[in-house]
């Protein structure tokens, strides 16, 4: 499934919008999600899951090819934690 399929399903199931409008709306939803996460704020979508931004400390890693030690810098990463409802839906 790609964004085009999501747009298609919004177009079909939610009446009143052209395909172009449906596309703009879906785009706006993902833009909002991205901007929110970029700002470091988490997103909680009940029934689906949570997107959480986490700060990782710098740590020492190793180049797996050469075995050489390197410092992995501090970074901010995004994780997704699926909701119980979604997990359940996938396993029933």
């Amino acid at each position: 499934m790609t964004k085009a399929d999501i747009i298609e399903s919004v177009y079909e199931r939610v009446g009143g919008y052209s395909k172009k409008e449906a596309a703009d709306i879906v785009e706006a939803v993902f833009d909002t999600l991205k901007a929110t996460l970029e700002a470091g704020e988490k997103i909680k979508l009940s029934g689906f899951g949570n997107f959480v931004v986490r700060d990782k400390k710098a740590r020492v890693g190793r180049n797996p090819q050469t075995g050489e030690e390197i410092t992995i810098s501090a970074r901010r990463v995004l994780t997704f934690k699926p909701s119980q409802v979604l997990k359940h839906a996938l396993n029933s």
Binding site: M1, S9, V29, A35, G40, F48, R76, A89
Partner: protein
């Protein structure tokens, strides 16, 4: 940001009724769930991809009592963040650090460049929120 915040922001941005925005947001996540349920991966460019990972049965332990428990094979959704979003999320950190860290949690700053995030609050939990998604079947 909760789903109802998201609905409000989208409704405000596009000047559409909140009820419509709610239907649309629900529709998006419902169809994503359906896709995953069919075992089909989802790829949203600039955002990330979701796929189903299958896990074998294993013997786990009750962390409180230490008793062994059998864990059935299961499927879990796995999200892989897309390149663009990964970089944007991390860039915000590098920025904050060089500019000036701290100030509270330092995390809830709005995104730069007019992409307003939520005007949170006001109504932390609207009736619009979440009653329906992902429940049935």
């Amino acid at each position: 940001m909760t789903k109802s915040d998201l609905i409000e922001v989208v409704a405000g941005k596009l000047q559409i009724p909140k009820g419509k925005a709610e239907q649309i947001v629900n529709c998006i996540f419902d169809s994503m769930e359906e896709s995953l349920r069919r075992g089909q991966r989802i790829e949203i460019r600039g955002f990330g991809s979701f796929e189903i990972r299958r896990y074998k049965a294993y013997e786990g332990r009750n962390p409180r009592t230490g008793d062994p428990v059998g864990v059935q094979p299961k499927k879990l959704p796995f999200f892989k963040v897309g390149k663009e979003l990964k970089e944007r999320v991390n860039a915000a950190l590098q920025h904050n650090q060089s500019a000036q860290r701290n100030s509270g949690d330092g995390l809830t700053r709005p995104a730069p460049s007019g992409t307003s995030t939520s005007p949170r609050s006001k109504r932390p939990r609207t009736e619009a929120s979440s009653s329906s998604v992902g429940s049935s079947s």
